[in-house]
């Protein structure tokens, strides 16, 4: 318990005593006043009554009423009210007592009188006396009671409300102590001012920060005490407390404020000022809190630097480089300022990394960064984009100067020898560059161009530079392919592939064979906008960038999972579903197991599945192809050789290639009506195929005339627009595939 404030205690005691005295004194006083007043009124009233009682006699006996003593006495004593311990007399005008009733009062008495009237004229007085001794006695008793009550009030006030007040006082004192301790303990500087911004309180942390004691600073204005600067502009700035006092609301100053101490030290601080109001919401001052954020700002600066720089080489990082490139693009649009962006990729860096270790690789990168930095201007920005990739922004530079800089970089890098474990390693650098002019709008496009140019430099032999605009056709195509890669990946992720199909027509049915409805599965891609994209647009990129296997697996999984629905579509007949396989898939060791597992998973009829491989793919990897086909055929699957006739110059391989169908390339079919050679070729292929026990399928059967010819030639099946155009495999089209999650192995 904190010691009670003596002043408060003294005040409370006096207050209590005063209240008690008031109670003790007021009770008898009030009683005496009321009693006296009451007695006075009573006597006045009685005197008046007695006077009224005499009035008839006086009026009827104007000259002799004063002698009717008995009559007067009777009226005085009894009528209309009796006397009680009162002494009443009747006096004439000269003051002579005419009669009296009662016993004269001894001691202190009260006398009241009332005139006797004879029709408005006063002819005498009724005087009534009563003793006030009982009033005095009762007042004395009341005084005793009052003293007792006063004592009780004293006790009550002292022990209950005063005690409560004392408890509250203790609590306030305790809170005050805690607040003071808290203020002394916190690290932030706390300054409290009056409404004129003059200092009235300072905590120890503030004294330490400012370097002066409270006694020295008390009463001074904040502007005298604190010398504040904007650490960026180094201009003097005003404390936030002034704004708070002026606007009567909280304000802060965070960011770049620094406090200059007397010893010349600049301390980064943040200010927070709040106004103080009294209970009537009048401003009485403010509190200013200063936080030393030097460490925080340093850390922030470091983090900011790290966010924009590569920690290994100290160069700009990708993010920073992109921002600078964006700025260069804006400058090009505003002021037509020409800049060059270079994308640089080290050659043979992987060898050093793998040979000497990642630590050595880092050292190499650091050294190369320095070498490259030495060849650029101060206005240029060199960045490490990641791994062994670098970006270079030649700001305000034409292509000629850029090529000179690139040449210098190539030369220096070529001369650079990295020694590791006693061995000398050299690296090269391939530079792709593109320029930024007022037609450039996208950082992404610029970097993509530079990247493509770098790729072309590598493709062209490495350790050279290549300008995007000089190879725009090839590089554009490559960029498009790169775009397709992302779109294919996105489509696989979002399940935006869709199956189409095209049915065959049976032209010559083997009487012993079970009739089948043949259909070829075709793939389409749905763009993010919902456009249907044909495979010739995306399949090359898929094959080039090793996505084709994934695509093939998606198709196989979809067809197998929907096999029974496909079967139901053609209820009443056997089906033969043709699925295209790419060379990459066929060469994959995983494909067979995938096919096997999926056929079991979905419990399909393997003999109703026919995989199509192109002649080119099969011939390129004949042994692999034969092994794969044989394994699959053991499971019951069929195979067709697609685009037959365009590949090998001889058909000798056909004897060993265990395909079931030959799909005659469309180039032989499309002009069969008019081209006799094509017709003869088709006929020959058909005969050879039949001799080898294979069925023949003719593609590009665009019209009935062609179909008739094909039938005449003995072709087994025809496929083409003349029979059926490619249509979605299922009537609900896209929604089916959007509903189904993508199957992944």
């Amino acid at each position: 318990m904190f010691p009670i404030n003596k002043t408060i205690d003294s005040v409370l005691l006096r207050f209590t005593i005063i209240i008690s005295l008031i109670v003790a004194i007021s009770l008898p006083m009030i009683y005496a006043v009321l009693g006296y007043s009451d007695l006075s009124d009573h006597l006045k009233f009685k005197a008046k009554i007695k006077s009224s009682a005499q009035s008839e006699m006086i009026t009827t006996l104007p000259n002799t009423w004063m002698y009717a003593e008995n009559r007067m006495q009777g009226l005085l004593a009894r009528e209309p009210v009796t006397l009680k311990n009162e002494y009443i007399q009747i006096f004439d005008l000269t003051g002579n007592a005419l009669t009296s009733v009662g016993t004269p009062i001894d001691g202190i008495s009260m006398q009241r009188q009332y005139p006797l009237y004879d029709i408005g004229n006063i002819v005498g007085y009724v005087v009534i006396n009563a003793s006030v001794s009982h009033l005095i006695f009762n007042t004395f008793i009341t005084a005793l009671i009052g003293m007792f009550l006063g004592f009780c009030v004293l006790m009550l006030l002292w022990f209950i409300p005063v005690k409560k007040l004392r408890a509250i006082s203790n609590e306030l004192e305790e809170e005050k102590q805690q607040a003071e301790i808290t203020l002394k303990s916190i690290n932030d500087a706390i300054l409290r001012t009056d409404k004129y911004s003059n200092l009235i309180y300072l905590n120890p942390a503030a004294e330490k920060l400012i370097g002066h004691s409270f006694a020295e600073l008390k009463g001074k204005s904040i502007s005298e005490i604190l010398t504040l600067f904007d650490s960026q502009t180094m201009l003097a700035t005003q404390s936030a407390i002034y704004n708070t006092i002026k606007e009567k609301k909280s304000s802060s100053c965070k960011g770049t404020t620094s406090l200059l101490t007397d010893c010349g030290k600049l301390i980064s601080i943040e200010e927070q000022a709040v106004p103080i109001f009294d209970k009537d919401h009048q401003l009485i001052g403010g509190v200013l809190c200063l936080s030393d954020v030097s460490y925080m700002r340093e850390k922030l600066a470091v983090r900011s630097w790290e966010a924009m720089h590569d920690s290994l080489t100290g160069l700009n990082n990708r993010r920073s480089f992109q921002e600078k490139t964006h700025q260069a693009i804006e400058d090009a649009q505003k002021s037509n300022l020409f800049s060059i962006v270079c994308f640089m990729d080290l050659d043979r860096f992987k060898i050093v990394n793998d040979t000497c270790g990642h630590s050595a690789g880092d050292d190499l990168l650091i050294e190369l960064s320095q070498i490259i930095s030495s060849q650029i201007r101060s206005t240029d920005s060199l960045a490490r984009l990641g791994g062994d990739e670098f970006g270079l922004l030649l700001y305000g530079c034409d292509i000629g100067s850029a090529q000179i800089i690139a040449t210098n970089i190539l030369k220096e890098v070529n001369h650079f020898q990295f020694i590791c474990d006693g061995r000398i390693h050299t690296v090269g650098i391939s530079i792709g560059m593109t320029y930024i002019d007022n037609n450039t709008y996208s950082v992404k496009d610029v970097l993509s161009e530079a990247d493509s140019a770098c790729y072309w430099a590598k493709e062209s032999g490495r350790h050279r530079f290549c300008v995007f605009q000089d190879n725009v056709v090839e590089l554009t195509a490559r960029r498009e392919e790169i775009n397709w890669v992302e779109r294919i990946k996105s489509a696989l992720l979002d399940n935006r592939f869709i199956l189409y199909h095209q049915t065959y027509k049976t032209l010559n049915q083997d009487e012993n064979a079970v009739p089948h409805q043949h259909l070829e599965i075709l793939l389409r891609l749905i763009s993010s906008r919902g456009d249907i994209i044909s495979p010739d647009q995306f399949l090359p990129a898929a094959e080039r960038y090793d996505l084709i296997e994934e695509v093939d697996q998606w198709v196989i999984n979809e067809v197998f999972s929907e096999f029974h629905n496909i079967q139901n579509m053609y209820s009443g007949s056997e089906i033969m579903v043709n699925i295209n396989l790419s060379g990459a898939s066929m060469n994959s060791i995983e494909l067979f197991d995938f096919i096997d597992s999926k056929s079991k998973q979905y419990n399909i009829k393997n003999t109703s599945i026919c995989f199509e491989v192109t002649e080119t793919v099969a011939v390129r990897n004949l042994r692999t192809a034969i092994e794969f086909i044989n394994k699959c055929k053991e499971l019951g699957f069929k195979f067709a050789l697609d685009d037959f006739g365009t590949g090998a110059s001889s058909f000798s391989y056909l004897k060993n290639l265990p395909v079931d169908y030959l799909k005659i390339d469309g180039s032989f079919i499309s002009n069969i009506e008019s081209d006799g050679v094509d017709k003869t070729m088709v006929e020959a292929i058909n005969q050879i195929g039949h001799l080898l026990g294979k069925k023949t399928i003719a593609e590009f059967a665009e019209n009935q005339a062609i179909i008739d010819i094909l039938e005449e030639l003995g072709i087994d099946f025809a496929q083409g627009y003349g029979i059926c155009k490619p249509i979605p495999l299922f009537s609900d089209g896209n929604s089916r595939y959007k509903r189904k999650p993508q199957a992944r192995n």
Partner: protein
């Protein structure tokens, strides 16, 4: 200085004497005789005054309402009235007032009730019970309402003298709340007439002279008659006195003489008085 004061005092004395003389002279020379005093005698005196005025048309005899015996004794020496009527003789303290008291008649002091009250007799014992509050109803069932007089009333004093018990009872009644009170003899009989069941003490002279609608009660089997009064059987007698200044005016003397005359005596007798033989 001393001589001046003496001169002033002498002039003042002469002025006072002259005033008094003139007052008496004026009254003496007036043709009006003012009579006042006990209410018991007022009624009879009015009859005497009327008879005298009939015989002496130039004289006006004005009988004032009751001012009581003491009032007459006080008023007469002051010249407020010419003749006072008292029901008591002068006290020793009143002898030097310059007045004399002359007995002129007597009458029985009676216990009276309203003629509507069917009661004829009463005893002292009954009065004790009545005044003490024990006896509350008349034999006919009506509520007994005693009428109290002021302490100095002569009638009440006579009643008290009948027995100590009665005195005690009356004193108790005087302190009781709610009992009727009458300040004068006339007021007493007014209330006896008007108040059902009421009773009080008055005089036969008053009853007869004012022809009140009340009747007297036989007290302890003794009827309040002149004869019983003279014989002493009836215990309460009221004597009437003239209160006169020692030096009387001629008109007063002549009136007094008339009262004591045969005619006056006859009038007195007619109204329940036993005249004093002069």
């Amino acid at each position: 200085m001393h001589g001046c004061a003496q001169k002033y005092g002498f002039v003042l004395l002469i002025s006072i004497v002259l005033s008094i003389t003139l007052t008496f002279s004026s009254r003496a020379n007036s043709t009006t005789i003012t009579i006042g005093g006990t209410g018991n005698a007022i009624g009879t005196m009015r009859h005497l005054a009327k008879a005298y005025q009939n015989a002496n048309p130039n004289i006006t005899v004005r009988v004032l309402p009751s001012i009581g015996s003491s009032g007459a004794i006080k008023a007469t020496p002051r010249g407020s009235i010419d003749i006072g009527l008292s029901a008591r003789p002068l006290k020793s303290t009143e002898l030097n007032l310059g007045i004399i008291a002359t007995l002129y008649a007597s009458t029985p002091t009676i216990i009276a009730v309203s003629n509507k009250t069917q009661v004829e007799k009463i005893t002292i014992t009954q009065m004790v019970d009545i005044y003490s509050g024990k006896l509350k109803k008349w034999p006919d069932g009506s509520v007994i309402r005693p009428i109290i007089r002021q302490a100095g009333d002569d009638n009440t004093k006579q009643l008290k003298r009948l027995s100590p018990e009665l005195q005690n009872a009356i004193e108790i009644a005087e302190k009781r709340q709610g009992l009727l009170f009458a300040a004068t003899d006339q007021e007493t009989v007014d209330k006896i007439e008007k108040t059902p069941g009421s009773f009080s003490v008055t005089s036969l002279a008053l009853l007869l002279s004012e022809k009140r609608n009340i009747h007297s009660l036989i007290l302890n089997d003794i009827e309040p008659t002149i004869e019983n009064m003279i014989s002493g059987d009836y215990p309460m007698v009221k004597h009437f006195y003239f209160i006169l200044p020692q030096e009387q005016s001629q008109k007063v003397k002549r009136f007094i003489k008339f009262v004591f005359s045969l005619e006056g005596a006859a009038i007195l007798r007619a109204y329940g008085n036993y005249p004093v033989q002069q």
